[in-house]
């Protein structure tokens, strides 16, 4: 190996407990290639520029740090919705808790089944978007995921999916270390919504590769559960065809460490990508570190991308945003927008942002803004002077702050569900 021993050793220690899963020839080759990629880059270190604000140590270490399982009597998210449920407990598919994997206009297979056979569209996608996403910035944990993931689903929508697919990630063991890899193909003109919710495990590595064909639409809504001690490193890789749409919203409350990476490539003209997130952390109920790292590449004409990330932090909670828009020379008439904002409810919370624009085309519109602020005292007094108690007035202002990200959720039922969760969190975390 050409790599310095200092970088390889922790990696080999990390890999020692893992076994490359069996599968068809193509699958074994894809995994071996991922492993080679991983060995080439090594695990991320604190000194890596891309991990400057988030310490990867607990993601790198051989075993998952323990995390208590959160238990609540409350109805889980999306309960009221007609959806196809696919349940994983500590990263392992639970057939008994899941619905039959049958839906009109959609093919659904478990990853392990797909990788034992030769399903061409799965073969053409598994690890492919991840590989593309390794340049110009490396994402070692995504390569590790591609190499070792045994569980996950492969989904191919050939028409308009009649209802959302709901991936439910339950956390049952305090020491679970889960790796899930999903592959999604939305064929030309098709549409699909995927819902994800739950913490999944004490430590969770998740990749989703999404290929969106011409005039196809993919919607993604995610809630990362309420467990305080869980850790997660997730990757969304998406590639869009002409006039395709990708819309993703993530709500994160609690969690000692979350690193959500999104790598989105607009490769067909007139495509549109909206990526949004709201994260709320209160250090008083457990350490909280949330990192949104986004990389959007415009490689076609007249595409629109929008990033809207909001964070509400208090009592030592930490927020990170790293967002980049790369506009390639041919990507004329690009409309790129990026907003990352943090509302710090006290002096102990912190937010670090690294917005980046790299533009090689001359006829583009790109803007980015990043702000860190406190509750507007004038507005707070105005509300209180009208009789709204301080706690409720603060909540109103917090919700107003989050509104621009929540509004990215198109579906009203889903938006209402997210708002209910948000209000619940606010009620439990009155300052």
């Amino acid at each position: 190996m050409a790599n310095p021993a200092a970088k390889t050793d922790p990696l080999e220690a990390r890999l020692a407990g893992l076994t490359l899963p069996e599968g068809a020839v193509w699958a074994r080759a894809a995994r071996a290639a991922a492993l080679t990629r991983l060995r080439g880059m090594g695990l991320p270190g604190k000194r890596d520029e891309y991990w400057k604000f988030t310490d990867p140590a607990s993601l790198n270490q051989p075993t998952a740090p323990r995390a208590k399982c959160f238990v609540t009597d409350e109805a889980p998210p999306f309960s009221e919705m007609d959806r196809l449920r696919i349940v994983f407990v500590d990263g392992v598919f639970d057939a008994a808790a899941s619905d039959d994997l049958v839906m009109e206009g959609v093919e659904i297979e478990l990853l392990a089944d797909a990788m034992a056979r030769d399903i061409h569209w799965a073969r053409d996608l598994y690890g492919v978007l991840e590989t593309r996403g390794q340049s110009p910035v490396t994402r070692p944990h995504a390569a590790l995921n591609t190499a070792y993931a045994e569980n996950g689903v492969v989904i191919r929508a050939t028409g308009r999916a009649p209802r959302p697919i709901s991936l439910i990630y339950l956390h049952g063991s305090e020491s679970s270390d889960a790796i899930l890899h999903h592959v999604v193909k939305v064929e030309d003109g098709a549409s699909l919504t995927i819902l994800e919710n739950g913490p999944a495990a004490a430590r969770f590595s998740k990749s989703m590769e999404v290929e969106i064909g011409d005039e196809a639409a993919f919607h993604h809504i995610r809630l990362q559960g309420r467990d305080h001690e869980r850790r997660a490193a997730t990757h969304m890789f998406a590639r869009l065809g002409a006039r395709a749409a990708y819309k993703s919203f993530t709500l994160t409350v609690n969690g000692v460490l979350t690193r959500n990476e999104q790598v989105v490539e607009l490769t067909g003209d007139n495509a549109l990508a909206h990526i949004a997130g709201a994260a709320l952390g209160d250090g008083a109920t457990g350490d909280f570190h949330h990192d949104d790292t986004v990389f959007v590449t415009h490689d076609a004409v007249d595409c629109e991308s929008r990033q809207v990330f909001k964070k509400v932090l208090r009592n030592g909670a930490e927020g990170v945003f790293q967002g980049k828009i790369l506009v390639k020379p041919e990507a004329q008439k690009t409309d790129g927008y990026q907003l990352s904002q943090a509302l710090l409810l006290d002096d102990n919370a912190s937010f670090q942002a690294k917005p980046e624009l790299e533009i090689y085309a001359d006829d583009v519109q790109c803007s980015h803004g990043s702000t860190t602020g406190a509750i507007d005292e004038e507005a707070l007094f105005y509300l209180r002077a009208r009789g709204v108690p301080e706690g409720a007035a603060t909540d109103l202002l917090v919700l107003a702050f989050l509104a621009e990200s929540i509004d990215e959720i198109e579906d009203e039922t889903l938006r209402a569900d997210i708002l209910t969760r948000l209000q619940g969190w606010l009620d439990r975390h009155r300052g």
Binding site: D376, E377, E378, A379, F381, Y382, L383, R384, A385, R386, G387, V388, P389, E390, A392, A393, L396, L397, L399, A400, F401, A403, E404
Partner: protein, 251 residues
């Protein structure tokens, strides 16, 4: 209704006394006006009464219907019946005007142990009151005061007052920034609320507002004190001769 006794107030940040012994008694059913030159402490008085931070009451007190105002949080004062129409209404992006008002109305009702208003009931009442103030449906839906003109902001204040039905209304330079028509509209809104159970304290620079809202008592405030009180004719005197004569007379 509102009783202010020997009220002394300093700025918290700097050791500067703004109010130097204000005495004032506004009876139920009466309209009192306070006029005075810039920097006399008129707005400070309104802020201190409504509970804004940054001020320190060094002596004296203020009661509303016998209850100690200064001991209460701003929201408790509001629930007790105090209302301040702001000189500069605050813009709150992201909070809908309707949501805001309904939250306020119901928070006050809850604090007083009254039944909350249903959405339908609220809608009916606010539509009627908005119409009287020529506030259209679009303004109700928009975020609080965002993108409102000066006149719209002031009409929105009066709408809030009409919805909250306070017993003691303080209007802080509600006429500033209004043209004659807007001022008439605002004055009509205020006059519609005048009744025997309600007191008003109207703070203004100019006599012209008092043409439309007829005061029972006019006070002149200067250098943190009420220096002269009288009937409506006092306002006319200010209009004709300015404050100089009055200030010289009481000096």
């Amino acid at each position: 209704m509102l009783e202010i006794k020997n009220l002394h107030v300093s700025l918290e940040e700097e050791d500067k006394e703004i109010l130097k012994g204000v005495d004032l008694h506004v009876e139920a059913g009466k309209v009192h006006a306070i006029m005075g030159p810039n920097g006399s402490g008129k707005s400070t008085l309104s802020y201190v009464l409504s509970g804004k931070g940054g001020y320190e009451v060094t002596s004296g007190g203020a009661t509303l219907k016998g209850a100690d105002l200064l001991e209460m949080d701003p929201e408790e004062r509001a629930a007790a019946g105090l209302f301040l129409a702001f000189q500069y209404p605050v813009e709150i992006p992201g909070v809908g005007n309707m949501t805001f008002l309904r939250t306020a109305v119901n928070a006050q009702r809850k604090a007083r142990g009254e039944e909350e208003m249903t959405a339908a009931e609220f809608l009916k009442v606010i539509r009627a009151k908005a119409k009287e103030l020529k506030i259209d449906a679009d303004m109700l839906k928009r975020p609080v005061n965002v993108g409102f003109s000066g006149g719209e902001k002031k009409r929105n204040e009066i709408l809030q007052m009409a919805m909250l039905e306070p017993s003691m209304c303080i209007l802080d330079e509600t006429d500033s920034g209004l043209d004659v028509d807007a001022m008439k509209l605002v004055a009509e809104g205020v006059n519609a609320l005048r009744d025997e159970g309600r007191g008003f304290l109207v703070i203004t620079h100019y006599q012209r507002l008092l043409d439309h809202i007829q005061p029972d008592v006019v006070h002149i405030m200067a250098a943190g004190r009420i220096v002269k009180s009288g009937g409506p004719e006092l306002a006319l005197e200010v209009e004709q001769n300015g404050y100089a004569d009055i200030l010289a007379e009481v000096a």
